[in-house]
């Protein structure tokens, strides 16, 4: 069958056996012929490395541990923060401030004390990736940035490991299996990461909390299928999921013979550490705008309190204005060129956004349009909350 190309034989489970307690625990697997004792022993013998214990890593870790995967490695250098809890269901409120690998390991050991959890509280880099991957059978990619995704791909190709890939954006997910001997890799699909500045604007970040749950759970299902050697894995198929439309679509992926990493004449022999850039962790690219006149939140507050006639221009999006605002006039950055006539160039204007980067662009644009009395609020509404009015919520 075409879709079965390149699936390596599932690891043999010689000499392993299930205890009486394990037989009880996994009975719902054991009574299904597709898994059975043979499959469960393969699951017990399997070694899976999860890159990232965030939104995707949470369901992955939970379902793989619950299924009895004998050894699970967790790689993450991050610490749990309260904004994670909206989707990273591995963690509870009491975990805020703890290293993610530690909190995740505690949760997974509670879920299944019979399995081995290895924690690596480190960033995956070109220096440690190959060594880490060598100890495992399957890699699951639950990272949140392009540099690590290319690293995971290249290292999995170079170590001959399957790479169960999932990624998400807002309401959309992409899932596939890379790295099978005759199947495509991530670079067959996208040879290079996007350059800074061309990935979606960070103002459009965010993710529906349940989306990584769905995508990560599909990754977990693929990993388990690969382990037991049953079914048709997503090798050579890219599954697209749109939670808003509630639709799945499937596209064909092909191994690119000219792929720099897995092609017939690979040109890239080593790993590459790409620099982090916008979109990587939801942060904006360093602003190229310089020499923008700025005003600090405290200075602005003092001038407004004095009764100075200052027009506060908020260039964020309407949904951000609903989260918090300082009574600015809302014109989203993208609408500024069409709505510039709403502004009076004879008045003093202070532009602000969340952290000051989008408003710097607005100031640059307006100065180009002939506005002279315009300043950027340094640090945006976040700085306003820190320095002037702590009752303004931060997001």
């Amino acid at each position: 069958m075409a879709t079965k190309i390149g699936v390596p034989p599932a690891p043999a489970a010689k000499g392993a056996a299930l205890s009486k307690e394990e037989i009880m625990r996994y009975s719902r697997h054991l009574i299904m012929p597709e898994v059975g004792m043979e499959g469960q022993l393969k699951i017990k013998a399997a070694k899976v490395l999860c890159i990232g214990t965030g939104g995707l890593g949470a369901p992955l870790g939970l379902y793989l541990a619950a299924a009895g995967v004998g050894r699970i490695g967790l790689v993450d250098f991050d610490v749990v923060d309260s904004t994670n809890l909206q989707r990273q269901v591995l963690f509870g409120t009491q975990d805020v401030g703890k290293p993610k690998t530690e909190a995740a390991a505690n949760r997974l050991r509670d879920l299944n004390p019979d399995i081995q959890i290895d924690t690596f509280e480190t960033q995956l880099t070109s220096a440690n990736a190959l060594e880490l991957f060598n100890d495992y059978d399957i890699i699951v990619d639950g990272t949140d940035n392009f540099p690590t995704r290319y690293l995971v791909n290249d290292a999995s190709v170079m170590t001959g490991k399957l790479n169960v890939y999932g990624s998400i954006f807002r309401f959309e997910g992409q899932i596939t299996v890379f790295g099978a001997p005759d199947g495509p890799c991530y670079r067959c699909l996208y040879p290079e990461p996007p350059p800074p500045g061309l990935v979606p604007s960070c103002a459009e970040g965010g993710v529906l909390g349940v989306l990584p749950g769905i995508v990560g759970t599909i990754q977990a299902a693929e990993a388990l299928k690969l382990i037991i050697g049953k079914g048709d894995p997503l090798i050579g198929r890219l599954l697209l999921f749109d939670a808003l439309a509630m639709k799945f679509r499937e596209l064909k992926l092909r191994k690119n013979p000219d792929c720099p990493v897995c092609g017939t004449h690979p040109t890239q022999k080593g790993l590459i550490d790409y620099a982090e850039f916008c979109g990587v962790r939801g942060e904006e690219a360093p602003s190229t705008v310089t020499n923008i006149p700025e005003i600090t939140p405290k200075e602005l507050k003092a001038r407004l309190d004095k009764g100075d006639d200052i027009y506060v221009l908020d260039v964020r999006e309407p949904h951000e204005y609903q989260i918090c605002n300082i009574n600015g006039h809302l014109i989203p950055l993208g609408e500024l060129p069409q709505r510039v006539h709403e502004l009076d160039s004879s008045k003093e204007i202070v532009a602000h956004c969340k952290s000051g980067k989008r408003s710097a662009q607005a100031v640059e644009f307006l100065r180009g349009a002939g506005f002279k009395k315009i300043q950027n609020l340094k640090g945006g509404i976040l700085a306003w909350s820190d320095e002037v009015d702590p009752s303004v919520p931060k997001y």
Partner: protein, 97 residues
């Protein structure tokens, strides 16, 4: 009947926030040309300065990658669906601006 072009979430902001658009075209190149003429902002996200599709954007006609068909010259017929599929990296997506 026209050809449907599905716009992925990350690029909708540059295409009037639409999920898909219908265009009259007989090749993929014409369809994307019609789309980027109407939505000029979309162009730099799809094409590099030398006019090539960017390496982090793939285009499919139905479920086939046009790189393995006739690229921009790939014929489309009424009822076909063109999908623009950019790479997305999110897994945790911490939004910080």
């Amino acid at each position: 009947m026209a050809v449907k072009v599905i716009i992925p979430t990350p690029l909708r902001a540059y295409a009037g926030k639409q999920e898909s658009v219908e265009v009259e075209a007989s090749t993929v190149g014409q369809a994307l040309g019609a789309l980027t003429t109407k939505h000029a902002d979309l162009k730099k996200h799809l094409y590099s300065d030398d006019g090539k599709l960017r390496s982090f954007v793939n285009v499919y006609v139905n479920d086939e990658d046009i790189r393995y068909l006739q690229k921009d010259q790939t014929a489309v017929k009424p009822g076909d669906t063109i999908s623009i599929v950019p790479s997305i990296a999110g897994g945790a997506n911490r939004a910080r601006i």
